[in-house]
Amino acid sequence: MLALVFNVMAAIVLLRATPIAFTLFMFLAQPLFAAALVLLVAVVLTELRGRRTP
Protein backbone atom coordinates (compact mmCIF):
# COMPACT_ATOMS: atom_id res chain seq x y z
CA MET A 1 0.00 0.00 0.00
CA LEU A 2 2.85 2.38 0.84
CA ALA A 3 4.51 1.63 -2.49
CA LEU A 4 1.19 2.19 -4.25
CA VAL A 5 0.77 5.65 -2.67
CA PHE A 6 4.37 6.40 -3.69
CA ASN A 7 3.57 5.44 -7.29
CA VAL A 8 0.40 7.54 -7.40
CA MET A 9 2.31 10.59 -6.13
CA ALA A 10 5.10 9.93 -8.64
CA ALA A 11 2.50 9.73 -11.43
CA ILE A 12 1.09 13.11 -10.37
CA VAL A 13 4.57 14.69 -10.55
CA LEU A 14 5.31 13.03 -13.90
CA LEU A 15 2.02 14.18 -15.43
CA ARG A 16 1.83 17.63 -13.86
CA ALA A 17 4.92 18.74 -11.95
CA THR A 18 3.66 21.64 -9.85
CA PRO A 19 5.97 22.88 -7.07
CA ILE A 20 3.58 21.63 -4.37
CA ALA A 21 3.27 18.16 -5.97
CA PHE A 22 7.05 17.87 -6.31
CA THR A 23 7.62 19.00 -2.71
CA LEU A 24 5.08 16.44 -1.46
CA PHE A 25 6.79 13.76 -3.56
CA MET A 26 10.19 14.59 -2.08
CA PHE A 27 9.15 14.84 1.56
CA LEU A 28 6.20 12.44 1.76
CA ALA A 29 6.28 9.91 -1.10
CA GLN A 30 9.99 9.06 -0.90
CA PRO A 31 9.92 8.40 2.87
CA LEU A 32 6.82 6.24 2.30
CA PHE A 33 8.75 4.21 -0.27
CA ALA A 34 11.71 3.94 2.10
CA ALA A 35 9.35 2.72 4.85
CA ALA A 36 7.86 0.11 2.48
CA LEU A 37 11.33 -1.13 1.57
CA VAL A 38 12.46 -1.28 5.21
CA LEU A 39 9.30 -3.21 6.16
CA LEU A 40 9.84 -5.68 3.31
CA VAL A 41 13.49 -6.23 4.27
CA ALA A 42 12.42 -6.70 7.91
CA VAL A 43 9.84 -9.33 6.89
CA VAL A 44 12.41 -11.14 4.71
CA LEU A 45 14.97 -11.18 7.55
CA THR A 46 12.39 -12.39 10.08
CA GLU A 47 11.36 -15.18 7.70
CA LEU A 48 14.97 -16.22 7.12
CA ARG A 49 15.72 -16.26 10.86
CA GLY A 50 12.60 -18.36 11.41
CA ARG A 51 13.87 -20.92 8.90
CA ARG A 52 17.33 -21.17 10.53
CA THR A 53 16.03 -21.72 14.10
CA PRO A 54 13.81 -24.82 14.13
Partner: protein, 232 residues
Amino acid sequence: MIRRLLLAGALLAPTAAWAAGPDVPLPHGWIGTTSQWLQGLGIVLVVLNIGLLVWAWRQLRSRGSPASMWGLLLVAVGLVPIMVAFMTFAHGLEASATVASCGSCHVMGPFVRDLRDAKSDTLAATHYKNRYIRENQCYTCHSDYGLGGTLRAKLGGLGHVWYYTTGTYKLPIKIAAPYPNVRCLGCHGESQKFLNSETKKPIMTDLMSGKTSCLECHAPVHPEQQKKEARL
Protein backbone atom coordinates in the same frame (compact mmCIF):
# COMPACT_ATOMS: atom_id res chain seq x y z
CA MET B 1 11.55 -10.54 -25.27
CA ILE B 2 11.78 -8.62 -28.55
CA ARG B 3 8.00 -8.27 -28.62
CA ARG B 4 8.12 -6.83 -25.09
CA LEU B 5 10.83 -4.35 -26.06
CA LEU B 6 8.81 -3.28 -29.11
CA LEU B 7 5.76 -2.86 -26.90
CA ALA B 8 7.77 -0.72 -24.45
CA GLY B 9 9.04 1.39 -27.37
CA ALA B 10 5.53 1.79 -28.74
CA LEU B 11 4.38 2.95 -25.31
CA LEU B 12 7.32 5.31 -24.81
CA ALA B 13 7.34 7.08 -28.17
CA PRO B 14 3.83 8.59 -27.96
CA THR B 15 4.42 9.55 -24.32
CA ALA B 16 7.59 11.44 -25.22
CA ALA B 17 5.86 13.01 -28.23
CA TRP B 18 2.92 14.02 -26.03
CA ALA B 19 5.30 15.71 -23.59
CA ALA B 20 6.74 17.91 -26.38
CA GLY B 21 5.00 21.24 -27.03
CA PRO B 22 3.26 21.69 -30.40
CA ASP B 23 4.00 25.43 -30.73
CA VAL B 24 7.28 25.53 -32.66
CA PRO B 25 8.16 23.23 -35.58
CA LEU B 26 10.74 20.70 -34.44
CA PRO B 27 13.88 19.68 -36.36
CA HIS B 28 13.69 16.67 -38.67
CA GLY B 29 14.32 13.48 -36.72
CA TRP B 30 13.37 15.07 -33.39
CA ILE B 31 13.01 12.40 -30.71
CA GLY B 32 12.48 14.63 -27.69
CA THR B 33 14.68 15.97 -24.91
CA THR B 34 16.29 13.95 -22.14
CA SER B 35 13.73 15.36 -19.72
CA GLN B 36 10.82 14.30 -21.95
CA TRP B 37 12.25 10.79 -22.22
CA LEU B 38 12.72 10.64 -18.45
CA GLN B 39 9.11 11.71 -18.08
CA GLY B 40 7.87 9.12 -20.61
CA LEU B 41 9.98 6.35 -19.13
CA GLY B 42 8.85 7.35 -15.64
CA ILE B 43 5.17 7.10 -16.62
CA VAL B 44 5.74 3.66 -18.17
CA LEU B 45 7.59 2.49 -15.04
CA VAL B 46 4.81 3.80 -12.76
CA VAL B 47 2.21 1.85 -14.76
CA LEU B 48 4.46 -1.25 -14.70
CA ASN B 49 5.04 -0.90 -10.96
CA ILE B 50 1.34 -0.49 -10.15
CA GLY B 51 0.66 -3.61 -12.25
CA LEU B 52 3.40 -5.53 -10.40
CA LEU B 53 2.08 -4.40 -7.01
CA VAL B 54 -1.48 -5.46 -7.85
CA TRP B 55 -0.19 -8.81 -9.14
CA ALA B 56 1.95 -9.34 -6.02
CA TRP B 57 -1.02 -8.41 -3.82
CA ARG B 58 -3.24 -10.99 -5.57
CA GLN B 59 -0.54 -13.66 -5.30
CA LEU B 60 -0.11 -12.91 -1.61
CA ARG B 61 -3.83 -13.25 -0.96
CA SER B 62 -4.10 -16.55 -2.84
CA ARG B 63 -0.93 -18.15 -1.44
CA GLY B 64 -1.10 -16.81 2.10
CA SER B 65 2.69 -16.87 2.64
CA PRO B 66 5.10 -14.45 0.97
CA ALA B 67 8.00 -16.92 1.28
CA SER B 68 7.75 -18.18 -2.30
CA MET B 69 7.61 -14.74 -3.90
CA TRP B 70 10.41 -12.69 -2.36
CA GLY B 71 11.82 -12.02 -5.80
CA LEU B 72 8.60 -10.52 -7.13
CA LEU B 73 8.13 -8.43 -3.98
CA LEU B 74 11.70 -7.11 -4.10
CA VAL B 75 11.20 -6.07 -7.72
CA ALA B 76 7.78 -4.49 -7.05
CA VAL B 77 8.63 -2.77 -3.76
CA GLY B 78 12.38 -2.27 -4.22
CA LEU B 79 13.88 -2.26 -7.68
CA VAL B 80 11.20 -0.62 -9.86
CA PRO B 81 10.26 2.08 -7.29
CA ILE B 82 13.95 3.09 -7.11
CA MET B 83 13.87 3.67 -10.88
CA VAL B 84 10.54 5.50 -10.58
CA ALA B 85 12.01 7.70 -7.81
CA PHE B 86 15.02 8.56 -9.97
CA MET B 87 12.91 9.41 -13.06
CA THR B 88 10.37 11.42 -11.06
CA PHE B 89 13.03 13.31 -9.10
CA ALA B 90 14.96 14.17 -12.28
CA HIS B 91 11.80 15.26 -14.09
CA GLY B 92 10.49 17.22 -11.09
CA LEU B 93 13.82 19.00 -10.65
CA GLU B 94 13.84 19.96 -14.33
CA ALA B 95 10.17 20.98 -14.37
CA SER B 96 10.51 23.11 -11.24
CA ALA B 97 12.82 25.46 -13.17
CA THR B 98 10.28 26.28 -15.88
CA VAL B 99 8.32 29.53 -16.20
CA ALA B 100 5.09 27.50 -15.98
CA SER B 101 6.22 26.16 -12.60
CA CYS B 102 6.95 29.66 -11.25
CA GLY B 103 3.64 30.89 -12.68
CA SER B 104 1.65 28.09 -11.06
CA CYS B 105 1.47 30.14 -7.84
CA HIS B 106 -1.04 32.92 -8.43
CA VAL B 107 1.10 35.56 -6.68
CA MET B 108 3.52 35.22 -9.59
CA GLY B 109 0.73 35.88 -12.11
CA PRO B 110 1.46 39.59 -12.78
CA PHE B 111 5.18 38.83 -13.29
CA VAL B 112 4.59 35.94 -15.70
CA ARG B 113 1.86 37.81 -17.61
CA ASP B 114 4.24 40.75 -18.12
CA LEU B 115 7.07 38.37 -19.05
CA ARG B 116 4.93 36.87 -21.84
CA ASP B 117 3.54 40.21 -22.99
CA ALA B 118 5.18 40.98 -26.34
CA LYS B 119 4.25 44.68 -25.95
CA SER B 120 5.94 45.05 -22.57
CA ASP B 121 9.29 46.83 -22.41
CA THR B 122 10.37 45.64 -18.98
CA LEU B 123 13.81 44.04 -18.81
CA ALA B 124 12.34 40.59 -18.09
CA ALA B 125 9.89 40.78 -21.02
CA THR B 126 12.64 41.99 -23.38
CA HIS B 127 14.80 38.99 -22.46
CA TYR B 128 11.82 36.65 -22.87
CA LYS B 129 10.37 37.88 -26.16
CA ASN B 130 13.74 38.07 -27.89
CA ARG B 131 14.79 34.73 -26.40
CA TYR B 132 17.99 36.23 -24.98
CA ILE B 133 17.41 33.39 -22.52
CA ARG B 134 16.11 30.37 -24.40
CA GLU B 135 14.21 28.61 -21.61
CA ASN B 136 13.57 28.64 -17.85
CA GLN B 137 13.77 32.45 -17.91
CA CYS B 138 12.68 33.03 -14.27
CA TYR B 139 15.10 30.44 -12.92
CA THR B 140 18.03 31.55 -15.08
CA CYS B 141 17.90 35.12 -13.79
CA HIS B 142 17.00 34.24 -10.20
CA SER B 143 19.68 31.66 -9.50
CA ASP B 144 23.44 31.98 -9.29
CA TYR B 145 25.67 30.01 -11.61
CA GLY B 146 27.16 26.68 -10.57
CA LEU B 147 26.14 23.92 -8.16
CA GLY B 148 25.99 26.22 -5.12
CA GLY B 149 23.61 28.54 -6.98
CA THR B 150 21.35 25.65 -7.95
CA LEU B 151 21.24 24.35 -4.37
CA ARG B 152 20.47 27.80 -2.96
CA ALA B 153 17.75 28.34 -5.59
CA LYS B 154 16.12 24.97 -4.83
CA LEU B 155 16.21 25.61 -1.07
CA GLY B 156 14.78 29.07 -1.70
CA GLY B 157 12.06 27.44 -3.81
CA LEU B 158 11.15 25.16 -0.90
CA GLY B 159 10.78 28.27 1.24
CA HIS B 160 8.52 29.83 -1.41
CA VAL B 161 6.29 26.72 -1.46
CA TRP B 162 6.06 26.87 2.33
CA TYR B 163 5.17 30.60 2.41
CA TYR B 164 2.66 30.16 -0.41
CA THR B 165 0.95 27.08 1.07
CA THR B 166 0.75 28.54 4.57
CA GLY B 167 -0.19 32.00 3.27
CA THR B 168 2.60 33.62 5.27
CA TYR B 169 3.91 35.76 2.41
CA LYS B 170 3.66 39.52 2.27
CA LEU B 171 2.42 41.60 -0.66
CA PRO B 172 3.75 43.18 -2.73
CA ILE B 173 6.31 40.43 -3.45
CA LYS B 174 9.86 41.74 -3.11
CA ILE B 175 13.19 40.20 -4.01
CA ALA B 176 14.85 38.80 -0.87
CA ALA B 177 18.25 40.44 -1.47
CA PRO B 178 19.58 43.12 -3.83
CA TYR B 179 19.94 41.67 -7.31
CA PRO B 180 23.65 40.85 -7.87
CA ASN B 181 25.37 41.95 -11.11
CA VAL B 182 27.09 38.58 -11.35
CA ARG B 183 23.85 37.05 -12.66
CA CYS B 184 23.79 39.53 -15.56
CA LEU B 185 27.51 39.19 -16.14
CA GLY B 186 27.29 35.42 -16.38
CA CYS B 187 25.90 35.95 -19.90
CA HIS B 188 26.80 39.55 -20.77
CA GLY B 189 30.20 39.74 -19.08
CA GLU B 190 32.16 38.18 -21.92
CA SER B 191 30.02 39.58 -24.76
CA GLN B 192 31.98 41.83 -27.12
CA LYS B 193 28.98 44.14 -27.46
CA PHE B 194 29.04 44.65 -23.70
CA LEU B 195 32.83 44.91 -23.35
CA ASN B 196 33.16 47.43 -26.21
CA SER B 197 30.11 49.51 -25.29
CA GLU B 198 31.08 53.20 -25.04
CA THR B 199 28.48 53.81 -22.32
CA LYS B 200 29.76 50.97 -20.17
CA LYS B 201 33.52 51.44 -20.52
CA PRO B 202 33.75 54.30 -17.94
CA ILE B 203 31.88 52.24 -15.31
CA MET B 204 33.16 48.79 -16.26
CA THR B 205 35.18 48.33 -13.03
CA ASP B 206 32.19 49.33 -10.89
CA LEU B 207 29.91 47.00 -12.85
CA MET B 208 32.29 44.09 -12.48
CA SER B 209 32.74 44.69 -8.74
CA GLY B 210 29.02 45.21 -8.21
CA LYS B 211 29.53 48.75 -6.89
CA THR B 212 27.15 50.00 -9.57
CA SER B 213 24.06 47.89 -10.16
CA CYS B 214 23.09 47.00 -13.74
CA LEU B 215 19.50 47.71 -12.73
CA GLU B 216 20.26 51.36 -12.02
CA CYS B 217 20.04 51.94 -15.78
CA HIS B 218 18.12 48.85 -16.96
CA ALA B 219 14.93 49.28 -14.96
CA PRO B 220 12.09 48.44 -14.66
CA VAL B 221 12.81 44.74 -14.55
CA HIS B 222 9.24 43.73 -13.69
CA PRO B 223 6.01 45.75 -13.66
CA GLU B 224 5.08 47.72 -10.58
CA GLN B 225 2.88 45.56 -8.40
CA GLN B 226 -0.37 46.59 -6.85
CA LYS B 227 -1.28 44.75 -3.64
CA LYS B 228 -4.72 43.90 -5.07
CA GLU B 229 -3.36 42.83 -8.47
CA ALA B 230 -0.91 40.35 -6.97
CA ARG B 231 -3.76 38.57 -5.21
CA LEU B 232 -5.67 37.97 -8.47
